[in-house]
Amino acid sequence: MTSYLLQRLVGVAVTVLFVAVTVFLMVRLLPGDPARVIAGVLASQQDVERLRTRLGLDQPLWRQGVIFLGDLVQGDLGTSARTSNSVTVEIGARFPATLTLAFASTVLAVAIGVPLGTFAAVRAGRLADLLVSTVVLFGISMPVYWLGLMLIIVFSIRLRWLPAAGAEGPLSLVLPAATLAFFSMAFIARITRSSMLEVLHQDYIRTAVAKGSTERSVVWRHALRNALAPVVTVIGLQFGELLGGAILTETVFAWPGLGRLLVDSIFARDYPTVQGLVIVFALLFALVNLAVDLFYGVIDPRVRYG
């Protein structure tokens, strides 16, 4: 188990390094002079040159790369070109907001998605199943942006129950989390339904039914446990998505998270911050993946790590 974990952690490090090199090269392929963009339209040529020197943009590419990787190995993501703050500080300041949002929406999505999918599987082919499938289809195809605005109009402007935007107090988490959870919830419900259907047709379920277990116990204790493996994979992936991909939701609800920081930084040609964020996202994805694999062992005793 320990050697397996070590092996996997080395894998994570290699992945992150690979991503770091790639993103370093990619941001430099973008057209436009970052020094000019950052200095602003009214800056003098001398000031633009000075900024270029300060950002190291006057160095040859390989040299910039060496400096960048050297700093990275020491855990230094550099200094934001836009704000002059440390990139680590910038990312650190927004990380809790993104994590809170991702966590809340995942909990919400699982809490609704899994029972909904299970319920649909048990009632497969009947009206209830059809209803659930319709909701699922709706959830998967609904644009996040539109859903967010609708929720704001109903719950903030009309009913005045919930804050429309911002991150002040627990109530302000409700709308963005619900918006973000909607897609995941639908997706999780769909996977749970098909996984459950498969499990419900297996011999041991028939055995359980034959020996007189109640339907409730069969479905929720025996079947669901075994149907959950693919669902956990999906939850893990979705959580990763939510960490990085909540850009639209964060924008609509003015949520001060990493997605928005990424967009702002790209628009400002803030190379160090863009690099730092992509690397952090890569690290998060890799770690979430690892956590999902480890979790398999918990829910399915047949999975062993060699």
Binding site: R36, V41, A43, D47, E90, T100, G166, A254, P256
Partner: protein
């Protein structure tokens, strides 16, 4: 995580909330590049000279200023009895220190340009400061109104997490003092009880960062903020009709135009450029696409600038456009132009560009409109003349301070890309001469006249399709009053208070 959820829930009794669209790159006055953020810094740090609602210069931390007859020294008298938020006194030494920092090449100052003629700054006594200039610079008083030249406490430079190169906690002399900042989320300022001027009404002002215009509007309609800037343009008529809110159209100095690359045929022919101007019905676009949030240009600069003269208009006259094109030897259907437009940078920029392309089609010119992200856009239009393939591109230009010299940067050879941002590559020796004279003439009437002459020549040469001067929409709750706009795209809400 818990702190995030619970943070900020303890609200002060009297809080004024403003939703803005961008987060601060920096709260350091010298490092700013965004008017919206300057606007916030202005609550905390003040300049020596300010501007009023009409764009006129008014005393702030300096009560008087005079320029010597040769234009080479400027004397300023400082306001007495002013203290910084940290309790240290505001005096000539503090001003000298701030100017030296502003001019220090080791400090990042994006808008340093206008201060280049300052050779040295001298403290004559506690309340008098003298600027020594390398050349007559009649626009210097205007330049001192920029937030870049705001004064912070020298004693605060290495406290509160500040460093000489980067101020994160500005300690100034303003009516409000810095309270807290959450990156990407909000900036909070608190009333400074020892403020030298009239005390504002609200204890606390919160600037909430809300990038999405529709969300800003929702926050206002839901009663969660008191004021927003830049609502979605298409909703302005509805907001105007809504009794719960009030729309204020702040004046602006931002001219919106289509720069014509004057170096390449047939656009190097003045008649073709004039034809482009006659071909577009600007008034119709302002009404139909900008929902009235602009005024059609009648001069190459906004009326709020010193040195502005009204010249006239290129009236919508497609017939005249066709004639001019024929005279220039451009047959209908023969000319195809590449037309770049940003999206979302200025009010309704891309839809307006599409409408303009339609008007050009009416006179037999095909204009292919395309758009890119802003950094790519700036990168493309600021290529040097040899490699610059752009033909038409829409751009906005807001002078850093309200002086014709700032607008004229657009019509000077020294400002052609890559050195500057005069992206139409326009040049006219007569205009160059007039601007150079105006920039160093101390007599105000004479100076204004010289800019007026230059403006007429530019208008006739038509290096741009002159479009409109944008207005700056501010929307506030009908429950508050005393909110207005300044002509440099700043809001003025320091003395906002509940409506009776």
């Amino acid at each position: 995580m818990l702190a995030l959820l619970l943070g900020g829930s303890a609200l002060a009794q009297e809080t004024f909330r403003i939703a803005i669209g961008v987060d601060a790159d920096s709260l350091d006055p010298v490092q700013g590049t965004t008017t919206t953020i300057d606007n916030i810094v202005d609550y905390m740090a003040q300049t020596l000279i300010g501007i009023d609602e009409n764009g006129a210069l008014v005393p702030v931390l300096a009560t008087e200023w005079t320029t010597s007859a040769d234009g080479l020294t400027m004397d300023l008298t400082l306001r007495e009895g002013v203290t910084f938020h940290d309790g240290t006194p505001f005096d000539a030494e503090a001003v000298v220190w701030n100017f030296e920092r502003l001019l220090d090449p080791n400090v990042n100052v994006p808008r340093r340009g206008p201060y280049a003629p300052i050779e040295s700054v001298e403290a004559v006594d506690d309340l008098h400061v003298r600027l020594h200039l390398t050349q007559p610079s009649p626009y210097m008083a205007g330049a001192l109104t920029q937030t870049t030249a705001a004064i912070i406490s020298p004693a605060s430079v290495d406290m509160e997490g500040n460093s000489y190169e980067n101020i994160t906690h500005p300690v100034g002399t303003g009516p409000y003092a810095f309270e807290s900042r959450a990156l990407g989320e909000r900036i909070v300022v608190r009333r400074f009880e020892d403020y030298w001027g009239e005390a504002p009404y609200y204890d606390e002002v919160v600037f909430q960062i809300v990038p999405e215009a529709t969300t800003r509007e929702s926050l206002l309609l839901a009663g969660q903020v008191d004021m927003i800037i830049l609502p979605p343009a298409s909703d302005i008529p509805a907001l105007d009709a809504n009794p719960a809110v009030e729309v204020v159209f702040g004046p602006s100095d931002r001219t919106i135009f289509i720069a014509i690359n004057t170096t390449k045929p047939p656009l190097d022919d003045k008649r073709v450029r004039q034809a482009l101007n006659y071909a577009v019905d600007k008034e119709a676009i302002v009404q139909g696409i900008l929902f009235g949030a602009a005024d059609v240009m009648d001069s190459p600069m906004a009326p709020s600038l010193f040195g502005y003269t009204s010249i006239g208009a290129y009236e919508y006259d497609p017939e005249r456009a066709r004639e001019l094109l024929a005279e220039a030897g451009v047959e209908p259907g023969e000319l195809t132009l590449d037309f770049m437009s940003p999206t979302g940078r200025y009010v309704q920029d891309f839809p307006a560009s599409q409408a303009i392309a339609n008007y050009l089609a009416d006179v037999g010119i095909t204009a292919n409109v395309r758009t890119t992200d802003w950094p790519t856009y700036v990168g493309t239009i600021t290529q040097g003349a040899e490699s610059n393939e752009t033909q038409l591109h829409l751009l906005g230009w807001a002078p850093a301070y309200l002086d014709a010299s700032q607008q004229m940067l657009q019509f000077q050879q020294s400002q052609h890309p890559p050195a500057g941002l005069a992206t139409s590559f326009y040049t006219n020796p007569e205009v160059e001469e007039l601007i150079a004279q105006a920039n160093s003439t101390v007599d105000e009437a004479q100076r204004a006249d010289l800019y007026g002459q230059a403006a007429r020549l530019i208008w006739d040469d038509a290096p741009w399709i002159f479009l409109w001067v944008q207005r700056f929409p501010i929307v506030h709750s009908a429950d508050v009053t005393n909110v207005s706009g300044l002509p440099n795209e700043k809001f003025y809400a320091i003395y906002a208070r509940p409506a009776d």
